[in-house]
């Protein structure tokens, strides 16, 4: 499926319009300034500071056919103390898919995995996913300690989705803080209310655990502007204990960031690297050309984040 035909989708156009409109019209505000699209740093809002962020993540292309997923997030952040930042946000998704899954079957995206389209259906859905809360506490600052350290917790609750995401965030700066590097380790068990295999009349809560190790570096090459890269390694397990691994993918790509006095904008483009391998619980047909396409793994991702401080 060509990008041109993907763009013809009415839903996609509407989403683009909303994002652009949001960027233009949102009132003056901001959250923790994100130099990276995916990787968090230990830089937090100071006490009493507020920020609004809008995220849009486009996930594109699975094993074949077409696949486009747009994840939206609208977020409010607040500095409770100089070391503790809290946030609240809404998550929503639009997706379309056709012959995108293993062996060419139409497969819904992971947030809407409870849908059951036919193997040859042209799937199109727009849905609210859930509300999230977030808290980040900084233990050590990269400006006064040898390394910045923060811990992060994010519960998400939705109609058919629950998640508890925990992160360890490390940050080390170089060159008078113009070169920022950061590492995140994420452990995130998640539960989905889904149809029981073999019995379409029954539903139950199933679970899996996402475990990610992400690294990023960015250099401030001019006042207000920085650029760098992000490298993500994402794992999924059908257990809480690092056993029964199903998926393991690597993503890499550039990030550019503008940070001003009242707003910031960050854009990241990622491509999955051909480094995937089979594990005990990998779904047959989910790996093509050494890239994994199960669940929330796809070939390309674009994430744009914009924030306003007030």
């Amino acid at each position: 499926m060509s990008l041109a035909s993907a763009y013809r989708s009415r839903g996609l156009r509407a989403f683009f319009a909303l994002v652009v409109l949001g960027l233009i019209c949102a009132p003056g505000a901001r959250a923790e300034e994100s130099q990276f699209g995916y990787v968090y740093t230990t830089d937090l809002l100071p006490k009493g500071a507020k920020e609004v962020e809008q995220w849009a993540t486009w996930r594109r292309q699975k094993t074949g056919g077409y696949f486009d997923q747009l994840d939206g997030r609208t977020e409010f952040e607040y500095g409770l103390t100089d070391k503790l930042q809290v946030a609240f946000y809404a998550n929503y998704v639009w997706a379309r898919a056709y012959h995108n899954g293993p062996f060419g079957e139409t497969t819904p995206p992971e947030p809407l995995s409870y849908d059951r389209p036919g193997p040859d259906d042209r799937y199109n859905a727009r849905r609210f996913v859930g509300f999230s809360g977030e808290a980040i506490y900084r233990l050590l600052s990269p400006y006064t300690d040898p390394i910045g350290v923060a811990v992060y917790i994010e519960p998400t609750v939705g109609p058919a989705f629950r998640e508890l995401e925990a992160k360890l965030i490390l940050q080390k700066n170089f060159m008078d803080d113009r070169l920022v590097t950061a590492f995140n380790f994420t452990y995130a068990p998640e539960w989905r209310y889904d149809i029981v295999d073999g019995d379409p009349t029954r539903k139950k809560w199933g679970y899996e655990t996402d475990v990610n190790a992400n690294f990023a570096a960015s250099y401030r090459f001019a006042p207000n502007w920085s650029a760098g890269f992000e490298l993500l390694n994402e794992h999924e397990y059908n257990s809480y204990t690092f056993s029964k691994e199903s998926n393991n993918g690597f993503f890499f790509g550039p990030v550019i960031h503008y940070g001003g006095k009242k707003l910031f904008i960050t854009a990241t483009f990622l491509e999955q690297l051909p480094w995937a391998s089979e594990h005990s619980d990998t779904v047959a047909g989910a790996i093509v050309d050494r890239r994994i396409y199960d669940n929330d793994f796809e070939k390309y991702r674009v994430r744009i984040k914009a924030g306003w401080y007030f």
């Binding site: 683009f16 652009v20 100071p46 401030r220």
Partner: protein
Amino acid sequence: MKSRFLLIPAYALVISAPVQATVYLSVEQAQALMFPGATFTPDFVTLTPDQMKAIEKSSDVNVLSPDLKVWRASTGGWFIADQVVGKHEFIPFAVAIDAQGAVKAVEILEYRETYGDQVRNASWRAQFTGKTKDAPLKLGGDIQNISGATLSSRHITDGVKRLLATYALVLANQKS
């Protein structure tokens, strides 16, 4: 075919017009404030690579530029206008050094960052008064940190330390 989706960052960047800089003091205003009644003679210096290395070794702070904007005050002492790295932009600041090589005053000339403008507070800047090259000038040590403005307060502290080393190694040896 190129997707117009890729234009979204461009739209976003176009609308992110630069914010007006907040200029608190011009160089002339800072000079008048820090050396009342004095006249000033420019004595701009271009540091040699060896001098830069010596300053970095003495202060343990990177020298950002070899060009140093220095004025001699008619009443004795030196006025230096310089800048340090901020979160998004440089922070222009000025240091007045008396004839004995001690800090007379520190002023923030412009501040364009979202947060951290508490470094302009007179009580925080007063901590530098009387410091010489031999002072530790360590944030969280002899200079109190400003919670929520850590990056700015650390870089200004480092900047003063670097300029005191510059005075001791270069300016103090200049012929008048």
